[in-house]
């Protein structure tokens, strides 16, 4: 029927410790869906979201994807949140020929899972070089240390990319240290860095651990050292938690609350109005991801089936709060103007050129 | 049958056994008595291998078993009961006794698991034999009750039945009559006499002197881990050192009853 809602699956971590990533992405998705439906839907048809929680578990991610496809007959799946979940669950969608769009997973190889597997998040090998290049130019960093959560696949790949790009930019990496995502004490690693006289620390950590690292570093006297984060760092949470210790930290991302364009301002205002808090990168990714999918559906025209959606996704041209967007040949994100780099100045992210 | 040679066991500063030696003749009933804490149970523990002695040797039928692993002693024909009852609390009475037969079950475990061939036959034999033993100690009618539902005295009988199940040549009983009234004690004594006639060698620790005097062929008295006296029941009973350390005033009543 022409007026029937278009069923879409949303599979995210909505409970458990990792829900801080999935829940925010989901907020962005719902906000976008609401706007789309308010604006008349897709070619006259509203969209309907079937949202399922994975609790951060692979098994549940698989079952959730199976449920939205098998039972709710969705034509496309948005998610899952974490890279490991994507690796487990996306093959299932592929098996049925249902396109899936991962919005937040950054580990390498995700789009390669199958013909129907897309990834809208900018992988880190596009973000980190930007940070390093600018940091090198602005602050002339020479001696760096790497610190990352080695039991987290995203952070592990951050660290690998840091290593490679530091070499490419002529930055000497004098130490590579790790921690576990469950840790909250980083004093040993940081004291060691202080002893090695590094001028910068390249961090693969999520905001919670990242803020602790910054706070402890300042305490241990690494006050002049520049901290450069990977994608995990790109959150206002870092500033909120680390307070003054966050000053001078740098990060690159596809999006920042500091981006001063019309689309971004409207998005932030709408998000704040709906949820009473400012969005973080996950919220923006969710929002843009949903809008991107809607654009593709619109392009697919009247005959909405999984095949046509796949083609539409492959060819979509979209401009969201993160800037212009399309997928490349390998179904990876190809943001045409790439990453923006920010630095914390006076308790807020400022874009640096 | 059993030779205990210069056994010493030390717990911290305490010599629980101090150079204790005695011999048990084949087919006899040998009593081990002594004050509380004299080391009788410790001696049983050493003989059955539960406790490693600090010095000394244990010989059974001439063979030195001092270093033999615990579980191998059962197949040498040794069985024991525990003073503080140690039944397998999750099982019922007959299962407990069947566990006692374990060293006499030789069928391949795989056959037993599958319940075929030798395994099956053996299982039947085991079950039948255990029922007989239970009848012997007067527990036939509670064969299938959980052991935890038994009164103290009955649990003690299960202990004895379980020890008998392996068809031992040497049986060590630690206070078998504790918790039994005089008539029950008498039944037990009768049972033990029958067993001795069947060629079984018995070592008994017991504080019930009537029982000990009537039943035993020889008595060893332990005191502070040392052998205080060793000999025929009458001689031991009249030994002033034994009266002083162990019997107390009851020595007098013993004489009357004898």
């Amino acid at each position: 029927n022409d007026a029937d809602p278009i069923p879409l699956g949303v599979v995210q971590v909505l409970s458990g410790p990792q829900s801080k990533y999935g829940a925010n992405a989901n907020k962005g998705i719902e906000l976008a869906a609401e706007e789309i439906n308010k604006a008349g839907g897709i070619n006259g048809r509203p969209i309907r979201l079937f949202t399922e929680d994975t609790a951060g578990s692979k098994d549940q991610a698989i079952n959730a994807v199976r449920k939205v496809i098998g039972q709710n007959k969705v034509v496309l799946v948005i998610g899952p949140t974490l890279s490991t979940e994507v690796f487990a669950a996306t093959p299932i969608a592929n098996q049925r020929g249902v396109p899936s769009v991962a919005l937040t997973a950054t580990a390498p190889g995700i789009a390669a899972i199958g013909e129907f597997s897309f990834r809208a998040s900018l992988p880190e090998d596009r973000l980190i070089p930007a940070s390093l290049k600018r940091a090198k130019k602005l602050y002339d960093i020479k001696r760096a240390a790497i610190l990352f959560a080695n039991d987290d696949s995203n952070m592990k790949s951050s660290a690998d990319i840091f290593k490679k790009e530091a070499a490419a930019n002529g930055i000497e990496v004098v130490a590579v240290e790790a921690f576990s995502s469950r840790d909250s004490d980083f004093s040993a690693q940081l004291t060691k860095f202080a002893g090695l006289g590094v001028d910068s620390v390249l961090v693969g950590a999520y905001p919670d651990a990242g803020a602790s690292i910054l706070t402890q570093a300042r305490r241990l006297g690494l006050s002049k050292v520049r901290f450069i984060g990977g994608n995990g760092f790109n959150s206002p949470k870092i500033i909120e938690l680390a307070g003054p210790a966050a000053e001078g930290a740098m990060v690159s991302g596809p999006w920042s609350i500091a981006k001063e364009d019309e689309a971004n301002r409207t998005f932030i205002a709408a998000y704040q109005a709906k949820y009473g808090e400012v969005p973080d990168q996950f919220g923006a990714q969710g929002y843009d991801g949903m809008k991107l999918v809607a654009q593709a559906l619109k392009n697919a025209g009247a005959t909405i089936d999984t095949g046509s959606i796949r083609t539409a996704l492959q060819n979509v041209e979209f401009k969201g709060v993160m800037g212009p967007f399309r997928f490349d040949q390998n179904r990876e994100a190809a943001l045409s103007d790439g990453a923006v780099t920010f630095e914390v100045v006076n308790g807020a992210f400022k874009i640096v050129q | 049958m059993l030779e205990v040679k210069n056994i010493s066991v030390r717990f911290g500063g305490l010599m629980a056994l101090n150079d204790a030696s005695f011999q048990v003749g084949r087919g006899t009933v040998h009593a081990l008595i002594g004050p509380n804490g004299a080391g009788k149970t410790t001696m049983f523990n050493v003989i059955s291998g539960v406790q490693r002695p600090d010095a000394g040797r244990i010989l059974v039928g001439g063979a030195d078993i001092t270093k033999l692993p615990l579980h191998r002693r059962a197949s040498c024909g040794m069985a024991r009961t525990f003073q503080n009852i140690r039944l397998f609390s999750g099982m019922n009475v007959i299962e407990n006794v069947m566990c006692g037969m374990h060293p006499t079950l030789f069928a391949n475990p795989v056959l037993s698991i599958l319940g075929i061939g030798k395994g099956r036959a053996e299982e039947r034999r085991c079950h039948g034999r255990c029922l007989e033993i239970l009848a012997l100690v007067g527990l036939a009618d509670v064969a299938y009750s959980p052991v935890t539902a038994l009164s103290y005295g009955h649990q003690r009988r299960v202990e004895i039945a379980r020890a008998l199940a392996s068809d031992p040549a040497l049986l060590l009983l630690d206070e078998p009559a504790a918790g039994m009234n005089p008539s029950e004690t008498r039944d037990l004594a009768r049972l033990l006499v029958t067993l001795r006639q069947g060629g079984l060698t018995l070592v008994v620790v017991e504080h019930d002197l009537h029982f000990v005097m009537k039943l035993s062929d020889k008595i060893t008295v332990l005191n502070f881990g040392r052998v205080l006296a060793d000999g025929a029941p009458l001689a031991v009973r009249n030994d002033p050192r034994v009266i002083d350390a162990y019997l107390g005033s009851s020595a007098a009543s013993m004489k009357e009853s004898a």
Partner: protein
């Protein structure tokens, strides 16, 4: 919803239940001898990684990798028996968990095994028939074993090791045999898990995974294999059954576990298997 869709929707769940049944049985076996041998996660990992590597790198078929992985696990279990079985009670429990965590850290830091990301694209060749066949064999095997002299010896060991030894039961040999068998069952579960989900990563075999596996057996009841299996089935499907509750899911899930254990501390199934068959 057509039957086909219904089956497709719950296929993974059904497979997971079978695999978790195997794990629960592995826990059941060790607990039946009173050993807190909690390396199920570790042996699952050994099975899963061995089989995944063999099929990804050498292209071997599932039956072959299954047998090889189980052999490897059996050997590893055999090797760690000697130091481990000197420990008893919670000491053994925590030591086996520690073994699992050490193994996991080694995998995390090992590039060939994919590090924290794990291995992906493993052929999904585990069929429901294979998984449930294995479960059936294990259940029947467990029942047959506990009804024989082997089962009596196992319970005797659980109840009082010293007394069992005095009765002539070779406690060490029994414990070792049970641990090796349990490790092989757990590794079979690991293999089947890898080949039904297509991806494995170290976090699947963490401490939490082991506790979850343990909870299958405890909640179902460890007096019979049926209890363990039932526990696995219920606890595996619970998160799916509660999907309607959205974010209150884990809250209710936790509450259900508390209530079940509080009202049935011996587990859902608490009857015991007789260890002496009554003959006429």
């Amino acid at each position: 919803m057509s039957f086909e869709d219904l089956w497709w929707t719950y296929e993974s769940l059904v497979l997971s239940i079978g695999i978790n049944c195997l794990l629960a049985l592995s826990v059941y076996l060790v607990l039946a001898t009173g050993q807190m041998f909690l390396a199920q996660g570790a042996f699952m990992a050994i099975g899963a990684y061995t089989s995944a590597m063999l099929s990804l790198k050498c292209g071997l078929a599932l039956p072959v990798t299954l047998v090889l992985a189980m052999t490897v696990s059996g050997l590893v279990a055999f090797a760690i028996c000697w130091p481990m079985l000197r420990l008893s009670g919670v000491y053994l429990g925590i030591a086996t968990i520690a073994f699992g965590e050490v193994l996991r850290a080694v995998i995390i830091n090992s590039e060939p095994l994919g590090g924290a990301l794990g291995l992906n694209g493993i052929p999904t060749s585990a069929s429901p028939a294979l998984i449930y066949g294995a479960v059936l064999i294990c259940i029947v095997g467990c029942f047959a074993a506990i009804r024989s002299k082997v089962g009596r010896a196992m319970e005797a060991i659980r109840s009082d090791e010293t007394a069992a030894q005095v009765l002539g039961i070779n406690v060490f040999r029994y414990k070792m045999a049970v641990v090796v068998v349990a490790a092989m069952v757990a590794s079979a579960a690991g293999v089947l898990n890898a080949h039904s989900h297509s991806s494995i990563s170290p976090e699947d075999f963490s401490f939490e995974a082991t506790v979850t596996i343990l909870s299958f057996a405890i909640m179902g009841g460890i007096s019979t294999p049926i209890g363990a299996v039932l526990g696995a089935a219920i606890l595996t499907s619970l998160p799916e059954a509660l999907r309607g509750l959205a974010d209150y899911r884990s809250l209710i899930n936790g509450l259900i576990i508390v209530l079940v254990v509080a009202f049935r501390p011996e587990g859902l199934v608490s009857w015991r298997v007789p260890k002496a068959r009554r003959h006429a």
